[in-house]
Symmetry: C2
């Protein structure tokens, strides 16, 4: 991690929301129900693709965005001009500031169906308008982190490098780089992620650099001259074997690495390794970067590969480009002034009313056995359990340490520890059930 921090100016997040959040606000303000104390919860009914676990990510970005959730004059003018809402609602939004509580799982934590990942407690008005932004951040970042964690597992200790920026929306790419590092990636190619979050960035050269020069030799010499002998040379622009021989001839035994970006990587890695060794370059590393995902990485386990560069499949969640997290009102003040659990009964989408609390049950050996979720109470710790909820925002005040570069370091550690305590079956890539069951007490998941 880079020890410096840099100031950048995030945009207001207040219009990164659905139109209906503001029309609901208008209707609730008029009906006198906007001030009702409400608890919304974020959870997922299922894991994507029958995976064994999910990874909760994006909290740091969410909290950074919450600080920017203010309506500018220009935005208020837009709401007025276009009649999205009435004058009373615009007046309410002029002074909007979140004053409630946010509590949730630690960023980087593994999760399961019905884990109560985040709860927002405030007036209905305040919690309602945050819905879309909160879900956007968590659904994308968690999708990438969940895919990334499986890739890191498949890599079995070899470093993974995030290189997918060009395959995602340009701002999503920054979030993807951050989420990948949270889930154990070594570094990223995305410079903005380095700038904002202090994560390590890496990169050397693309095919265009070779093509720019009159010969491959000129290109290699130019790169070595500028970046030093520890750089990695891309050897598949024309002919791999010729390029490897040329690279060694020019750079000598201290050449840092070569990169393969095409072809059958298993075969190529083996023949390039053999050739490098024959030429005396036992320490020159091999990075592979072509269309990798967790399955391709696993297939390369026996190949002499030193690092994996992962792009498209990472930033698109390896088949699950979004998480299925929802944000549901589970409890609110009724006409009598007391809090009451609420739940919809919609076909196939029913939810469990009441606030949830959770802990991870562990056996005496420290291995996770159950996700314990209590409705309106914290399940009893049987001695080896681990609490899961962190207070992030209290009375509108953000607790320190959960944003910026610091949050990434913390989340990465949390993720490593959380994975380490799951049963070994968590690392299986095949489809299957969540690696530990969720127990909801009392009541049942639908």
């Amino acid at each position: 991690m880079n020890e410096h921090t840099y100031s950048w100016h995030p945009q207001p997040t207040s219009l990164l929301t659905d139109h209906y959040e503001l029309t609901m606000l208008q209707a609730a303000l008029r009906a006198g129900t906007a001030s009702r104390r409400s608890v919304f919860e974020v959870f997922a009914r299922r894991l994507p693709h029958s995976r064994r676990y999910g990874v909760f990510a994006g909290v740091g970005r969410l909290l950074e965005g919450l600080e920017q959730f203010r309506f500018t004059d220009e935005q208020l003018r837009f709401l007025r001009d276009t009649n999205v809402v009435d004058a009373a609602t615009v007046a309410y939004l002029e002074n909007f500031r979140f004053t409630g509580q946010i509590r949730g799982y630690a960023e980087g934590e593994t999760y399961f169906p019905h884990s109560p990942l985040l709860s927002v407690e405030s007036s209905f008005a305040e919690a309602c308008v945050l819905e879309t932004f909160i879900l956007s951040v968590l659904n994308y970042d968690s999708a990438v982190a969940s895919a990334a964690s499986r890739m890191v597992g498949a890599a079995g200790g070899r470093p993974c490098i995030e290189m997918g920026s060009r395959r995602a929306h340009e701002q999503a790419a920054v979030a993807a780089a951050r989420a990948a590092v949270v889930a154990g990636f070594d570094s990223t190619s995305n410079l903005e992620a380095g700038f904002r979050y202090g994560v390590k960035t890496v990169g050397t050269a693309a095919h265009s650099f070779t093509l720019l020069h009159d010969t491959e030799e000129q290109a290699f010499r130019a790169q070595l001259d500028a970046l030093g002998v520890s750089t990695a040379l891309l050897v598949d622009t024309y002919d791999v074997e010729r390029a490897v021989r040329l690279a060694v001839e020019i750079a000598g035994p201290d050449l840092g690495g070569v990169r393969l970006d095409s072809g059958d990587l298993v075969t190529q890695a083996s023949s390039v390794r053999a050739l490098l060794d024959t030429l005396g370059n036992q320490h020159t590393k091999i990075t592979v970067t072509s269309d990798l995902d967790e399955y391709a990485i696993a297939a390369l386990r026996a190949a002499p590969v030193d690092a994996y560069g992962v792009g498209t499949r990472l930033v698109t969640g390896s088949g699950a480009p979004t998480s299925s997290m929802v944000y549901k009102l589970v409890s609110r003040e009724g006409a009598s002034g007391t809090m009451e659990p609420v739940a919809k009964a919609s076909s196939g989408k029913a939810s469990v009313g009441g606030e949830k609390y959770a802990l991870r049950r562990r056996n005496p050996q420290g291995v996770a056995t159950h996700e314990m979720v209590g409705v309106s109470h914290l399940p009893e710790d049987d001695g080896d359990d681990r609490p899961l909820l962190v207070d992030y925002v209290t009375g509108g005040e953000l607790r320190e340490g959960f944003t910026g570069p610091e949050a990434v370091v913390r989340a990465r550690t949390r993720h490593a520890e959380s994975i380490a305590e799951l049963p070994r079956a968590a690392r299986r890539l095949s489809e299957g059930e969540p690696v530990i069951p969720t127990v909801i007490e009392p009541g049942t998941a639908h």
Copy 2:
């Protein structure tokens, strides 16, 4: 479209790039090759999922971002502190401004494998550092527009509403809303898209609004009171039939609409339509919004549905969350000072060197028959053909009319016209070949 425009402050886009773009720059500056005149081209080797056509989108956003491609002092400090590049490269970037040419397909245009979608001509240095940003924008926006266009086709004239913000990164959501409208969607729920691009935003209420109130009746009354009788009431929180009867009882025959967000939509839509008609609400519309994609929309063709709200599957590209567009150096100045075509020979990723020009061949009836791509020349117009290339940036100067709300209106029109001229088979949802073949003259696609 909203006739007002609003100022917003986009962030600098200059670090939304891969580390290696800047290390290549450093090496080329040092080797004296950074100033070589270069032409990079954006194209896709294939369409995703054996689709019949793709939709080119994001140009307006790309050009807006190009204006912000300047390095701030804080960003330069980051590059220095972290040794991403050397002092000479930082000095070059201090004054970075794109001064070259950008030419490409019109936004909204349909495209096929090897269509030369965008070309960037400038020094190697200038074109190289733009690569990642350009691909991020085009790959995401085109993925969404390509999915959206199929949904619009499946809807057969019924309006489609974009509602996927919560299932995409919060900024990607804005781009998705914009791309959906380019491809023919009627409107979006995303307010920031309305603010930035003038697209129509819509929305009424969610289940949480019903749950906030002590009874469904109170919720419906509150919504009608605030939003008027033309609003759409969400009728599946508890019991659909009861809710429809209640809605009609309270709102009367002028109730604008009801929304169904769960269950078997074909059956539900029919029974709700029958019930509404029986109760005298022939003009109350039915909007459906649960997990729709182009196939689900097609399956609802015979159902009495008035509008489709599409979320997850739209913003994730309906199975193709990114396009496979690449940005390749195809021609550059050699040591002799003349432009020379270049191409890599990598296994499975070979490209065709030389600048490409394109037109859409049409038969005398105006139906598209071929995508004609000429290497180093424009294919000859046989009398009914249509030119495809637009000059966007000349000598670093952006031509007017291709950014902001204006660009969206223009692209939407272009898309509608482009689709109308394709053979009818373009609308088939089944997997298949591109609806028209690409002819590359001379030379062949690899």
